[in-house]
Structures are given as C-alpha cells and as structure tokens.
C-alpha cells in the first residue's frame, strides 16, 4: 500500500524559515478535510447501527472509478460527474444494506466483520479485473494547479475545496440528523429499534437509507481522492484506516469530532512528512495511538455505547 505521495505534490513549501511550519500545519488542516470526508460516512453508519464496514475504503475507490468512467465516457466535468454518481452510489449503498448487511446485524460481531472484509476483497479484485492495477487520476483541468495566497501561505484551490466540502458535508449531515423527520428516525432507531417500530419506523429501511446517505458522502470523498492523488484498486484499505483513526480520535458518533479527528491526522501526517518524507503515514498512526492512549473514548465522545 504505497503512501499517497502524489497528494503532497501540490503543496511545495520552502525549506527552512518559520513560514514553512505555518504552511505545513495549514496543508495538514486541508488534508484533514479529505480524511474527515473519508470518515463522515463511517461515523454516520456506526452511530446509527453500530456497524463498521471494513469495505468502506474500497467503496470510496469504487466511487472514484465510477466518477472516472463518467468523466472519460461522457466527457463530463469531474464535479458534474460526481453529482451524477451520487444517486447511483446512494442506490448501491441502499441495496447493499437491504440485501446483504441487514442480515449480518445482531449481537454476534463476527458476521458483519467477516462479510464486509469479504466485500472489501471482492471489490478490490472486481476493480482489478475491470481496470487493471494501473494508477489512475481524474483530471480536473486548470483547477488542480491553481492556488491562492491567503496571508503569508500559498494554498491550493483543490485542498481548500476539499476542506470546504468536508465542513459543508458535516453541516448538511447535522442538519439532516437534527432538523428533519428522517434524522429523528435515524437517532430513534439507533437508541431503541424495538420502540422505534412502535412509532411506525421500519428499522431495516432506515438502515438502508443511512447507508445510502453515507455513500453520497463517500462519492464526495472519492471526487477529491481521485483528483488530488493517484489511486488503484488496492488503495482502499489505507483510506479505511485514516477514516477509522479520524472517527476514533473524534469520538464515536460525533460528526464534528470526526472533522477534528481528520484534521489532527492530517496535521500529524504533514508534520511527519516535513521531518522525513517516509514518516508521513507513520506519524498519522502514532498520533492516533497517542490519542487512544490518553483518551480511549476519543476527544469528543457523544455516542454512549
């Protein structure tokens, strides 16, 4: 699983003066936006049905390939292609939950883990058959290299868009969760599925809609993954791990916590890379383990398990 070196490519920074540390942290925060997008879907699904989908990273890569196909086959702009891909991914997530994952829910933790692990292997190898192992990239044209000067720091447009999209996605999810009837149903089902049934809620359908919504967030994450770095069928697992680390650091079931967790991982990685390029991914993991040691329930625990 090669580290996503490409991702650092569009964040050149001068070597030694004080400016470089500020720049490293800013790039880290922007990278954290990408990891928060990876994590938001995971956090949403876990919050509602205590299910962790080990194929989450591979679903992001699958969505990236879907966008790639829409861009190359229909000549669409990547952002438009992502909009087109969203309903498709929603339907795919909905069907996956209704037909497969709902059967695994229950007290025993083995079925959901082993089924989603199997799903991860199936997706990776299906993509391998379909698209071979070559690295791919979604070209977004001029915007990729465009950058803005914000104060003393030089910031790429795409990383900025990524962070903005992450914040928007989390605001939207929070509005959905706390302002809509469907959001109430999500939370009620998460608290007590049996009593939710007494209110007229059908838990299996709620879980399917939740996974569908998670797949829409996955599509946004895939857009930025695909445009900012190379990807191939095997890059899914490392994305799952970053998403997982962001969710754990942020605290289970807390979407804003997930954003904070993503940013902490992002900054840890850019700082690590600044010290030694080979330590980028390692630094992220070390930050995760440090938080896990100090606050086992994450920094902003909301869901009381």
């Amino acid at each position: 699983m090669p580290p996503i070196s490409g991702c650092m490519r569009d964040a050149p920074w001068p070597e030694d003066d004080g400016m470089s540390w500020l720049d490293t942290v800013v790039q880290g925060v922007l990278l954290g936006g990408l990891y928060a997008l990876f994590a938001a879907g995971l956090s949403l699904v876990f919050g509602i049905m205590r299910l962790v989908n080990l194929a989450h990273g591979d679903l992001i890569v699958l969505a990236a390939y879907l966008i790639l196909v829409l861009v190359t086959a229909l000549g669409l702009n990547p952002f438009v292609a992502a909009l087109v891909a969203m309903p498709i991914m929603f339907a795919a997530g909905w069907a996956l939950q209704r037909l497969v994952l709902n059967r695994t829910l229950g007290d025993d933790i083995l079925p959901p883990l082993l089924v989603t692990f199997g799903l991860s292997i199936v997706i990776q190898n299906a993509l391998l058959e379909g698209f071979s192992a070559d690295s791919r990239r979604i070209y977004a044209g001029g915007i990729e290299t465009a950058s803005l000067a914000i104060g003393p720091v030089n910031v790429g447009v795409m990383p900025l868009l990524t962070l903005a999209s992450a914040v928007l996605a989390i605001v939207a999810l929070n509005q959905l969760f706390y302002r809509t009837s469907l959001g109430r149903a999500f939370r009620a089902t998460s608290d007590d599925p049996v009593t939710a049934g007494l209110m007229g809620i059908r838990p299996n359908r709620i879980f399917a809609q939740a996974t569908g919504v998670a797949m829409v967030v996955v599509t946004i994450a895939a857009l930025y993954l695909g445009t900012r770095a190379n990807f191939d069928p095997a890059t899914g697992p490392s994305r799952l791990i970053y998403a997982f680390e962001a969710v754990i650091i942020g605290g289970l079931g807390s979407l804003w916590g997930t954003l904070a967790g993503g940013i902490i991982i992002g900054v840890a990685q850019t700082v690590g890379a600044a010290v030694n390029p080979e330590w980028q991914i390692l630094a992220g993991h070390v930050a995760f383990l440090a938080v896990l040691l100090a606050r086992p329930r994450g920094l902003f625990p909301r869901a009381v398990d």
Binding site: M1, F46, R50, L51, V52, L54, V100, R103, T104, I109, L110, P111, P112, L113, L114, V115, F117, G118, L119, S120, I121, V122, Q124, N125, A126, L128, E129, P237, S238, L240, I241, F244, E245, I248, E278, W279, I281, L282, H285, V286, F288, L289, L292, L293, P296, D305
Partner: protein, 362 residues
C-alpha cells in the same frame, strides 16, 4: 431430592469417532514424515504451503473462533517473526532454523505492548486497531536500513546453503542442497502444525478453555462465576502472536527473500487465512483443516484466472458467513454429530447410584 451420595460417576470426552480418528491421524503423521521418500520436490513445496497456512489459520481461529477477538492484523506477527529471523541470521549470524525461535519471541514482545492498545477497543474497532498496529510495524521495519529498508533483502548464500540438518538430509535422501532444505522446512512445518493443533486442543480441554467458551457465550455471567475474561483473552492474544511469529519466520526461511510489503501483506497472511477458517468452519479445530484443502483445490483450479480467484473466494466467504455461519465442517458436524477433536465434558452417572458424601457440599 435429599442431598446424598453419588458413588459412581465419570467424565468422558472422547467418542468412538474421535478414537478412530486418533489412529488414522497417527498413521497420517507417519506417512507425512516419510513423504519426502516418495513425493517430488514440487509436492513437498505445496505441502509446505498447505501446512504453514494451516498453522496461521489455527492461530487466527484460536483468536476469533474461541476468544471472539477478530483480528485483521495478524500479518504484524508474521512480518515481525520473519524480520526477527532475518535479523538473527544476517546481524547475529545464527542458523536460520534456530532463528525461527527468535521470530516467535519477537512476536510475543511486540504483542505485549500492542495488547495494551487494542484491548481498549471492542468489536470492529478492535479489528481495525490490529490493522493499524500491523501498518505501524510495516512502516517501522521499512526504516530498518540494515535489513534492506523498504525494498527488502535476501538471506546470505552461505546461510541458505547450510541450514541445520541440510547436509544430513541431502546425504540420507541423495538429493542436492536446495531440495534437502525444502525437506527440512517441510518437516519443520509439519512439527509446527502438530504442535499448534496439539496446544490448541489441550487448551480447549483445560480450565482456561472452558473459561473461554463461557466468556464467548455470556461474558457477564462468566465474570459472576469467577472467570477473569480480560486475562484469558490476553493469554490467547499472546499465544496466537507467538504461534504466528514462528510460522512467519519458518515461511521466510524457505522463501529466503523478504520485503516489508510482502512480509506484512494483509491479503496473504490475513485475507486467505480468514477465508480458510470461515469457509472451513470457525470455532472448530477441524474447520481450518477442511478450509485449507478447499482453498488449495480452488487455487489449483483457478490459478491462471488471476484476481478472479480472490474475487470468487470473497464471494464464497460472504455466502458462507450469511447462510452457513458454522462453515462446511460446522454444517457436517451439526448433521452427523461427528467430532474429530471432541471437547465436550460428558458426565456419565451409573443409573440409580447417587453421589457419595464428602467435598465442600457434603
């Protein structure tokens, strides 16, 4: 129902089927040791693959099937065991076979601190936590320049030409060095599998084994009758790490070439292992044995279809987990009641007799 004596009772575990199997197993072991006499070198190498994967599968099954600890990071111990062996040979000048033990010890040393981390997580989060530990181990080892860093390295020629017992076997069987080395590795794999299954079977029939099964069924009830669930699970986590480390070291003695991405590969040392256990039958000793045979047959049938093989394996794994969670062996044993490694303690009370006085309740 007055409290009175039970003069004649006994506790048995064996069954007719397991008795017969014990004889068959003994014969099979003798044949297996003698195999190099009458099979080709490529068969020996296939048997080595089957035995090493079976040993990994038994260790993973001990963790997930009996202790309910679903790890997706056992590749960490395969990798650490292999690299410790490489370190002992290249830096310490040890004989590769002796260095296998160093691999096992290194795996346990890694498992102690990591247990502290991963036991703070539960269920799916424990699984991914073990995966992070494996990633950290892979990245740290990739910094170990004297063992080839990220690109990896090979065992020195003089080490691979004279591993322990190689000349004796070469002379005995009249074969060249590398063939003899394969035979020694094969025998080691055979010993390792027998030891692993023996250890697991004895553990299951012990007090700890009964405690583990109780915790698996109902942790609260188990704790209220005096079972220390965390201590038992940690014990199993360390034992599985040791076993996995030994196998990792042995695999790379035979491969003689190592790199971080290969030694810590989640597909080779965790994905295949999970499918072997799940398809064969999780939570049974016979399951992984059935599973490795199925995997080997599939591998031969689909070897030239590339990723279709893993794709199919994934689909079969999902189908089995959804529709026959106790796997092929579980399906068979549920219908026939035959168990090759029976664990159940049966109380046989002579009819009419009642227990004798004595004991704390007498």
């Amino acid at each position: 129902m007055s409290v009175d004596a039970l003069s004649s009772f006994r506790v048995t575990t064996g069954t007719r089927a397991s008795g017969a199997f014990a004889l068959v197993a003994a014969a099979l072991i003798v044949i297996a040791f003698a195999a190099p006499l009458f099979v080709s070198r490529s068969v020996i190498q296939n048997l080595f693959f089957i035995l090493t994967m079976l040993a990994l599968a038994q260790n993973w099954n001990l963790l997930a099937g009996y202790a309910g600890l679903v790890s997706v990071g056992q590749q960490a111990f395969v990798g650490i065991g292999a690299y410790a062996m490489f370190g002992a040979v290249i830096l310490g000048g040890m004989d590769p076979v002796a260095a296998i033990a160093v691999g096992g010890v290194a795996a346990v040393l890694l498992a102690i601190p990591t247990a502290f981390f991963v036991f703070r997580l539960y269920g799916a989060y424990f699984a991914i936590g073990t995966w992070v530990i494996a990633e950290v181990a892979r990245l740290v080892v990739a910094q170990w320049k004297s063992l080839g860093g990220g690109t990896g390295t090979s065992l020195p020629r003089d080490a691979t030409r004279s591993i322990w017992g190689q000349e004796a076997v070469a002379a005995l069987f009249g074969v060249r060095g590398p063939h003899a080395a394969d035979i020694v590795s094969y025998w080691l794999a055979l010993v390792l599998v027998i030891a692993t299954i023996g250890f697991i079977y004895r553990l299951l029939r012990s007090r700890q084994g009964l405690g583990l099964a109780a915790v698996r069924d109902n942790q609260d009830a188990a704790r209220s009758v005096g079972v220390d669930a965390l201590r038992l699970k940690t014990l199993v986590y360390l034992a599985a790490a040791f076993g996995t480390g030994l196998v990792g070291a042995l695999i790379y003695v035979q491969k003689a070439r190592i790199s971080p991405d290969a030694a810590f590969s989640v597909v080779d040392w965790t994905a295949y292992v999970i499918f072997i256990v799940v398809i064969g039958g999780i939570g049974t000793i016979e399951g992984p044995i059935v599973g490795i045979i199925v995997l080997f047959l599939l591998q031969n049938a689909l070897s030239d279809y590339g990723s279709w093989y893993l794709l199919l394996l994934g689909l079969i794994g999902i189908a089995v987990m959804l529709f026959a969670p106790r796997g092929l062996w579980g399906f068979f044993t549920d219908r026939t009641g035959i168990e090759l490694f029976p664990v159940r303690r049966n109380l046989i009370v002579a009819p009419g007799a009642t227990p004798d006085k004595g004991g704390p309740h007498g």
